[in-house]
Amino acid sequence: MMFVTGPLFAGKRDYVCRALGCTREELAARAVWDVQDLAADAPDAGALAALADRLAGYEVVIATEVGGGVVPVDARERAAREAAGRLACLLAQRAETVVRVVCGLPQTLKGDSSCWSI
């Protein structure tokens, strides 16, 4: 599994399409994105790990970095942001390759992304 992360609107899905050589329409069959939004539904660490295990079955998993702002005042938002960060760490552990995309430019943080088409 390849885990792709990066800030909002950074061009993550466009990068994955280029890496896989597929269109945006074909992407849904091979990748899952916005997984940061799934983390809030995991009630505990075990559920979060199970979610990471399930997501690791995809060819590519994409998450938006959401932990870079001020700590949210709302407790639910705080917990959701925390879970999103933890999930990203678990996914990075399970991934053979981790790529961070900034301004549309990929940077490999783990493994070797050269086996992908770009």
Binding site: P7, L8, F9, A10, G11, T64, E65, V66, G67, G68, G69, V70, P72, E77, R81, V102, C103, G104, L105, Q107
Partner: protein, 180 residues
Amino acid sequence: MMTLVIGGAASGKSEFAEALARQFASPRVYIATMQPFGEEALARIRKHRDRRARMGFTTLECYTGLATACDALPGNASVLLECLGNLVANERYSPDGGGEGAALAGVLCLADRCRDLVVVTNEVFSGGSDYEGDTLGYLRELANANRALAARADRVVELTVGLPNWLKGGPTQSEEENPH
């Protein structure tokens, strides 16, 4: 050569961009985009303008309409533009702004006209997407401009704790020999 410098608040991006631009050949122009609101801002702007003058930069203030302002540049100028975040906000929200896309169009016009260009932009995209009003629209426009300029630029560098992380290209030999 065009270089895009991106970083969060107080990441050292301005100092790094200035160090890059100081090595440019004359004439050197600094394009300032922050609209002065109040006496404190004016005093700060005067201070920075004097400092840059000592470094051999003339200052061109441009809040909107960069494509037109380009005409006032000397031929073969090298330019430091700071910053894209302001420019997008000015074009998007000022009464005399050109609206969506105007900021990017202005910078692309600038890139065509000057010899060396450093553009400073902001990393403000890692704090979630739960915003009120037009903030998400602003973020989308700034991100679109960042990606377009990153594609166009010869070099892209992200600043963290004052340190450069080159995402595209890298330092020139002269920059390596004269680190900021």
